[in-house]
């Protein structure tokens, strides 16, 4: 008995709606977690450069925790663990406002921040220290020297590895399925369990993930060329 590949059966009616909702949720989760990851990554990098040892240890601990504990475990910890430490009204507010989405975004964003921090740090280390010293000597403060001189160059150098992190983050959103976030993988499995068209359902998911990944890569290389500085 040959297998009849029937894409139409999973791409029609409510199943199509489920896929579309799933794609929208995946994209939203990626964007929210990404913003958090970049913001937190920059903060971590800056904190690490403050010449006060314990702060450096703290950042190192943060990075090691998020790189060495499986992401799924981190997500479960945020979803089932952290809210129970919060006061009751905060918990109720979270539960009433799509807590699973919020907490998944936090877990994914904070984990990605550890990698982002490492990437930016490598970027900064590639800028000769003399530039920072020169900036300080003409009157910039710490933040000024970093903000106007070092970071603009360092961030550009960090773009290719950051695109890589973005891709990873995008794919990792599928783990949010485990805590009931209705993203693409969750919806795919739902379509699968209703239609029993396993092959078709996951073929659709594969195509969508690939397409979005390629789009992120294209965006990355485009911004790479746009941001490139003329070296003199």
């Amino acid at each position: 008995m040959g297998y009849v590949f029937d894409l139409g059966s999973v791409l029609s009616g409510k199943y199509l709606d489920w896929f579309l909702i799933g794609i929208a949720t995946t994209l939203a989760l990626t964007v929210v977690a990404w913003c958090l990851a970049i913001a937190m990554g920059i903060i971590l990098t800056l904190v690490r450069m403050i010449p006060f040892r314990p702060l450096g240890w703290f950042v190192a601990l943060y990075v090691e925790y998020h790189r060495n504990v499986p992401l799924l475990v981190q997500i479960f910890l945020w979803y089932f663990g952290v809210p129970s430490l919060l006061p009751r009204p905060a918990r109720q507010w979270i539960n009433a406002h799509h807590g699973e989405f919020l907490l998944a975004a936090i877990a994914l964003g904070l984990a990605a921040a550890a990698y982002v921090a490492e990437d930016i740090r490598s970027g900064i280390r590639s800028i000769p220290k003399a530039q920072y010293e020169a900036a300080r000597s003409i009157g910039f403060g710490y933040l000024g020297a970093m903000g106007y001189v070092v970071l603009p160059q360092a961030l550009r150098i960090s773009v290719p590895p950051l695109i890589n992190q973005t891709l990873l983050l995008f794919k990792n959103t599928s783990l949010a399925m485990a805590i009931g976030v209705g993203e693409l993988t969750y919806r795919t499995r739902e379509v699968d369990s209703y239609t029993f068209k396993t092959f078709e359902a996951f073929a659709v998911a594969t195509a969508v993930y690939l397409a979005i990944s390629f789009a992120i890569m294209a965006l990355g290389s485009w911004s790479g060329t746009r941001l490139k500085l003329e070296t003199r």
């Binding site: 089932f80 485990a178 739902e190």
Partner: protein, 270 residues
């Protein structure tokens, strides 16, 4: 083992030589020398790990054992996830499913169901705090269920305004309810009663069933010989009172449930 395979090969050869037997599933099982039964292993008292022996036991397992005895081969259990049940059967990794498998018309298009061997009252569990007392009270609320279960599909069908949030297993779904992440949990009454008893957060099972669902053994389509044998086994065991004995072993007096079988063992009418 070796003896079995030699015997099996001989049986297969004999069958081939006789020229009448087509290689159907029943012949395959006999040739292989064991019946592979897909079961959940996480659903007390249907299929769960015995705390002392570490073996998978339960009502589902005993029913499967009767089928294996009728075929005349030993039983081999394979534990599977709720949502993987039907794919495992369709891809031939198990011969038969005894895995809390509720009848739904969608499933019946994919697989055959044996006579019903259990009828499940699908109910809703909620925390005392929500104050919900009827299924209608869940309109617009969040209800959890196990991913890929008929409970999930039942909630969608019967409380369309409710939002379903599904989890991989019973414990995650229960935890979500206990932490107020959802307002209700839909599953078989027996599972819910036990959870409500064990829960530290006060919980209640909504009295009225959301829906009633007959459970059958799952079989591949187009295997009439095996299906007939399975159904005859169930009918015979009912006639001889064996089913009642098994039922009372897991659900009768002395268990946490203390219920009697109040449904017939018969063909499921869609």
């Amino acid at each position: 083992m070796k003896l079995f395979s030699v015997l099996g090969l001989a049986a297969a050869l004999a069958a081939g030589l006789s020229g009448v037997a087509r290689a159907d599933q029943l012949a395959d099982i006999k040739a292989r020398g064991k019946l592979i039964c897909g079961t959940l292993g996480t659903s007390e008292p249907f299929s769960f790990q015995h705390p002392q022996t570490r073996e998978i036991v339960g009502y589902d397992v005993d029913i499967c054992k009767k089928v294996a005895d009728a075929v005349g081969v030993p039983l081999e259990l394979k534990t599977i996830a709720v949502e993987a049940r039907i794919p495992e059967l369709l891809q031939g990794r198990v011969d038969i499913l005894a895995a809390n498998l509720g009848y739904t018309p969608e499933r019946a298009q994919q697989i055959d169901f044996s006579y019903s061997y259990f009828v499940s009252q699908q109910k809703l569990l909620t925390t005392k705090e929500t104050g919900i007392t009827t299924a209608e009270g869940f309109a617009g609320k969040k209800i959890t269920a196990i991913k890929g279960s008929s409970s999930e599909q039942g909630v969608r069908r019967l409380i369309p305004t409710a939002e379903t949030v599904t989890f991989q297993d019973t414990s995650s779904a229960f935890l979500a309810l206990a932490q107020d992440k959802v307002d209700g949990f839909c599953a078989s009454e027996l599972i819910l009663v036990k959870l409500a008893k064990q829960s530290k957060v006060p919980m209640v099972v909504i009295e009225k069933s959301l829906f009633v669902e007959p459970w059958g053994l799952g079989l591949r389509k187009g295997e009439p010989a095996f299906k007939t044998l399975v159904n005859e086994t169930l009918a015979k065991a009912t006639g001889s009172g064996e089913i009642d004995k098994t039922f009372s072993k897991w659900f009768g007096p002395g268990t946490a449930f203390d219920i009697k079988r109040d449904y017939p063992i018969e063909e499921i009418k869609g």
